[in-house]
C-alpha cells in the first residue's frame, strides 16, 4: 500500500541508540529530536506510511476501511463499565494507526493546558475515591516546549485574545484562520452573555509556512488526512525532518508484541511482527514507548516476564489504570441564513470561561467549548439533524435540503477524573489477528464528569439561543462507552509506588525504558490533549538527550 521513502536503514541486529515504538504525535517528535541530537533511531509503527497524495475525501471508504485508524476486525476489543461486569466484544476506542498517528486525522484543535491543570489537586483538594493529584511538573516547565511545538509544527492563533490564556513566551507563528459563520454566531451569542470567545488555536496553516502550503479550506479535516499537508501533523513535518538527519529509520507495518529484557533487567529491544508476519527482535540501547494512551499500557502488560509477572515496569500496579477519555457533550441549532459549514476547518472560535466551574455548583470540573459543524454529508444524513427531524421520505429530503447548510453545533470538552477502575487491561479470551490478547477497556465516568458535561451543555444551549437559533437541541449526556482521547494509563509521578514514570519519562522500574504519550498524563486537561502530548515529547527529548550524554541511560 505504501512505498517507504528513501531513508537510512538499520539491521535488526544493529544496537541502535533508541528504539521508538509508535510513530505518532509524540513518537515522531522524539524521533526527530533524538536523531537531530546525533543518536541513531529506529521508529516502529504498526500502521502504514502513507503519502498525502493517498488521502481521500471519500467519507464512506475512509470509515469503512479504517484507512487511518485501528481496524476492529484485526484488533478487536472488549468493553465493560466496571470490573464486576462481563466484558463484551465491541469497538471501545479509536486511534490513529499510521505514521503520524492520530494527528493525521485529528480536528487540529491545539490548546495548551493552563497553569491550573498541573496543580489542581493542591489548589482544590483531593477527591475521595479518585486518583486526582498534581502533576510532578508545572506549566512553567512545559511552556518552552509548548512554544517549540507551535513554532516547529506550525499553529495558527491569536496570542492574548483570551483573558484566561496562560502566559506564553512567544505569540503563535501564524495568524488565526478566517472565521466561519459558526464562529461568528458562537462569538455573537457568547458575547451577549458576557463570555470571552476568541479565535481557536489550530494546528493548520493559515499561510504558507516553512515550505508547506496553506489550507485550501476543503472542509475535510476531522477524520481525514490533509492532502495539502496544511494540517500540522508530524507527517509533513517531524517525520521527513527525522529521516533527513540520516540517522533515523521509520519502519511501518511493524506490530510490536513484547519488549525484551536481559538478565539484569535492562531492555534490549523489542520483538515485532513485520508486514509478512515474521517476528524480529530489533536491538537497541534504550527503548521509548509512545504507542498512545491505550497501546502503551497494553504493550507493557503483554511484556510480562518472571521479573515482572504483572506487566513490565508495573511494580506499582498502576500500569493501565486511571484511563481518562474526556467527554464531548454536543448541542446543535439551525439558523435562518446559510452557514455553509461544510467549507473550511471545523473550529474557528472557542471559549474558556468555564475552564474552572465554580465549586459552588457542587461538583468538580471544567472545560472548553467551541462552535463547529462536525459533520460530512453521510454522517449528517445519518445522525446530524435534530432528533425531531423526519428520518426518511420526502419530508426527510426536504429537511436535509433546508438544514445541511443552516446548522452548527457547539461541542463541549470536559475534564475526566482519574479513576483506578477505568483501565486498559488484557482480555482473558479474545485475541487479535496476531494471536495476542485483545485490549479490554473498562470505563465509567465519575458522576462529576457527567455533571460537568451537563453544565457546559446547558451553557451551550444558552449561547445558541443568544445567537438567534431557530431550532436547537442537545444530545443527552450519557456515560462514555467509546474513547478517542486516550490518557493517563502510565502516569508520571515522583513516587514509584503510585506512578509508572518519573519526571524524565523514565520508568521507575527499568532504567533504559521510557514512556511518552497520552499515557503519561496525570489529569485529563480540558479536552484537547494533543499539544500537551507533543510538548511532553519535546521536553522528554531534551531530558533523555541530557541523560544519554551524561552516560546515565
Amino acid at each position: 500500500m505504501s512505498a517507504t521513502p528513501p531513508q537510512r536503514r538499520y539491521r535488526v541486529t544493529d544496537n541502535v541508540d533508541f528504539l521508538i515504538i509508535g510513530c505518532g504525535a509524540s513518537g515522531s517528535v522524539l524521533a526527530r529530536e533524538l536523531s537531530r541530537n546525533g543518536f541513531s533511531v529506529v521508529a516502529l509503527e504498526q500502521g502504514p506510511w502513507l503519502d498525502r497524495s493517498q488521502f481521500t475525501h471519500d467519507e464512506y471508504r475512509v470509515q469503512a476501511q479504517n484507512l487511518l485508524t485501528n481496524n476492529p476486525q484485526k484488533q478487536p476489543m472488549t468493553f465493560r463499565k466496571t470490573p464486576n461486569d462481563k466484558a463484551v466484544k465491541q469497538p471501545a476506542l479509536v486511534y490513529g494507526r499510521m505514521v503520524g498517528g492520530g494527528t493525521v486525522h485529528f480536528t487540529a484543535n491545539y490548546w495548551r493546558f493552563h497553569e491550573i491543570d498541573f496543580i489542581e489537586a493542591s489548589k482544590k483538594g483531593t477527591i475521595p475515591g479518585t486518583g486526582f493529584t498534581d502533576w510532578p511538573i508545572t506549566y512553567a516547565d512545559l511552556e518552552p516546549y509548548y512554544t517549540k511545538a507551535e513554532w516547529d509544527l506550525g499553529v495558527s492563533g491569536l496570542a492574548g485574545a483570551s483573558p484566561f490564556d496562560p502566559p506564553r513566551s512567544k505569540p503563535y507563528p501564524l495568524p488565526p484562520m478566517p472565521v466561519k459563520s459558526s464562529g461568528v454566531l458562537f462569538e455573537q451569542g457568547a458575547r451577549k452573555l458576557g463570555y470571552h470567545p476568541f479565535p481557536a488555536p489550530m494546528a493548520i496553516l493559515s499561510q504558507s509556512y516553512q515550505g508547506r502550503l496553506a489550507c485550501a479550506h476543503c472542509g475535510f479535516c476531522m477524520g481525514f488526512g490533509c492532502e495539502m499537508g496544511a494540517k500540522s501533523s508530524p507527517l509533513p513535518t517531524m517525520v521527513p525532518q527525522a529521516v533527513a538527519t540520516g540517522r533515523c529509520e521509520i519502519r511501518p507495518h511493524s506490530y510490536v508484541r513484547k519488549i525484551e529484557l536481559d538478565a539484569t533487567g535492562r531492555a534490549i529491544g523489542a520483538v515485532y511482527f513485520d508486514r509478512n508476519g515474521k517476528q524480529n527482535l530489533q536491538h537497541a540501547k534504550a527503548v521509548i514507548v509512545s504507542s498512545n494512551g491505550a497501546e502503551t499500557a497494553r504493550l507493557l502488560l503483554l511484556s510480562q516476564s518472571n521479573r515482572f509477572p504483572h506487566g513490565l515496569a508495573n511494580s506499582s500496579g498502576v500500569v493501565g489504570k486511571y484511563l481518562m477519555f474526556n467527554t464531548d457533550p454536543l448541542c446543535g441549532a439551525t439558523f435562518e441564513h446559510e452557514l455553509n459549514e461544510y467549507k473550511s476547518i471545523q473550529v474557528t472560535r472557542i471559549l474558556h470561561d468555564f475552564y474552572e466551574i465554580d465549586p459552588k455548583h457542587g461538583f468538580y470540573g471544567g472545560g472548553g467549548m467551541d462552535g463547529r459543524f462536525l459533520w460530512t454529508p453521510i454522517s449528517y444524513g445519518s445522525a446530524g439533524m435534530s432528533p425531531r427531524a423526519p428520518k426518511w421520505g420526502s419530508e426527510y429530503k426536504k429537511a436535509m435540503a433546508r438544514n445541511f447548510n443552516r446548522t452548527m453545533f457547539i461541542a463541549c470538552h470536559t475534564t475526566s477524573l482519574p479513576l483506578e477502575n477505568n483501565s486498559i487491561s488484557l482480555d482473558d479470551t479474545l485475541k487479535d489477528a496476531w494471536g495476542l490478547p485483545a485490549m479490554r477497556v473498562t470505563y465509567k465516568d465519575h458522576p462529576d464528569d457527567l455533571k460537568t458535561g451537563q453544565f457546559l451543555l446547558d451553557r451551550g444551549m444558552e449561547i445558541l439561543d443568544a445567537a438567534g437559533a431557530q431550532d436547537r437541541w442537545a444530545f443527552p449526556v450519557e456515560e462514555t462507552t467509546f474513547g478517542f482521547h486516550l490518557l493517563g494509563t502510565c502516569r508520571m509521578g515522583r513516587d514509584p509506588k503510585s506512578s509508572v514514570i518519573n519526571l524524565d519519562h523514565r520508568t521507575h522500574d527499568v532504567a533504559n525504558l521510557f514512556l511518552c504519550d497520552g499515557s503519561s498524563f496525570v489529569t485529563s486537561g480540558r479536552g484537547q490533549p494533543t499539544e500537551t502530548i507533543q510538548a511532553l515529547a519535546f521536553r522528554a527529548s531534551d531530558r533523555i538527550t541530557a541523560l544519554a550524554k551524561k552516560g546515565e541511560i
Partner: protein, 194 residues
C-alpha cells in the same frame, strides 16, 4: 492538471487580492483542485456482484422510500442500489452477512404487514411505508438506512450519488477549495469590518 486550467486558476486567484491574505495562493488552488478530481464510477447496466435480482428489487424499494423521487431526484436516480452492490463486494465484504440479514428482516416484516406478499418489493407503496414504520427502530432498519444514506450522499467514485444528486440536494459543492466568506454570517461580519 492541464496548463490551461492551471493558468486559469492562477489568474482567478491573482485577480482576487484577498485570496493571498487567506493563504490561497495560485499554487494552493492548483494543488487543491488537482486533488479534488475523482472520477465517478458508472456501474449502470453491469451485472450485480452481491445482490440477486430479487434482493436488488427489495432493497431498491426500501431505498426509494427513504429518498423518494418527488420534485427532486431520489435513491433510484442516484444509483444507490449500485453503490451498495459495489460497496459490499469491494469495500466492506465483511458486512455482507449483516446486510443480507437486514434484508431478510425487511422481507419478514413485509409478510407480517401483508401475509400474501412474496417480498417487500411486491408490497404497495403504502404497505411498504407501514412495514418500514413497524421496524423503524430495529438494527436491520438502521443498517439498510445507513447504506442508503451513504449511497445517496457518498463520493460518486463508489458508484452512488450519481450526477451528484445527493450533494446537489443539500447544497454541498465539491470543489474542495473555498475562500471566505464561506456563509452568510461571516459575510455579514466581513462587511461590518470593512
Amino acid at each position: 492538471m492541464d496548463n490551461t486550467r492551471r493558468t486559469f486558476l492562477a489568474q482567478a486567484a491573482a485577480s482576487l487580492g484577498l485570496l493571498y491574505l487567506t493563504g490561497l495562493t495560485p499554487e494552493v488552488l492548483a494543488q487543491a483542485h488537482e486533488h479534488a478530481k475523482t472520477a465517478p464510477r458508472d456501474l449502470d447496466g453491469q451485472p450485480f456482484r452481491f445482490f440477486t435480482p430479487q434482493q436488488a428489487a427489495d432493497y431498491e424499494a426500501f431505498a426509494v422510500q427513504i429518498f423518494p423521487t418527488d420534485d427532486t431526484p431520489g435513491a433510484k436516480e442516484a444509483n444507490v442500489v449500485r453503490f451498495v452492490d459495489f460497496a459490499l463486494s469491494e469495500i466492506e465484504p465483511q458486512n455482507k452477512q449483516d446486510f443480507t440479514t437486514a434484508l431478510e428482516a425487511l422481507n419478514a416484516q413485509a409478510k407480517k404487514t401483508a401475509p400474501q406478499a412474496t417480498s417487500f418489493a411486491a408490497l404497495t407503496s403504502a404497505q411498504q411505508i407501514e412495514a418500514m414504520k413497524a421496524m423503524e427502530k430495529s438494527d436491520a432498519f438502521g443498517t439498510l438506512k445507513f447504506y442508503t444514506v451513504a449511497g445517496f450522499f457518498g463520493d460518486p467514485a463508489d458508484g452512488g450519488n450519481k450526477d451528484k444528486i445527493g450533494w446537489k440536494l443539500i447544497g454541498f459543492e465539491d470543489s474542495f477549495y473555498y475562500a471566505p466568506p464561506f456563509g452568510w454570517y461571516d459575510g455579514q461580519a466581513m462587511k461590518e469590518k470593512a
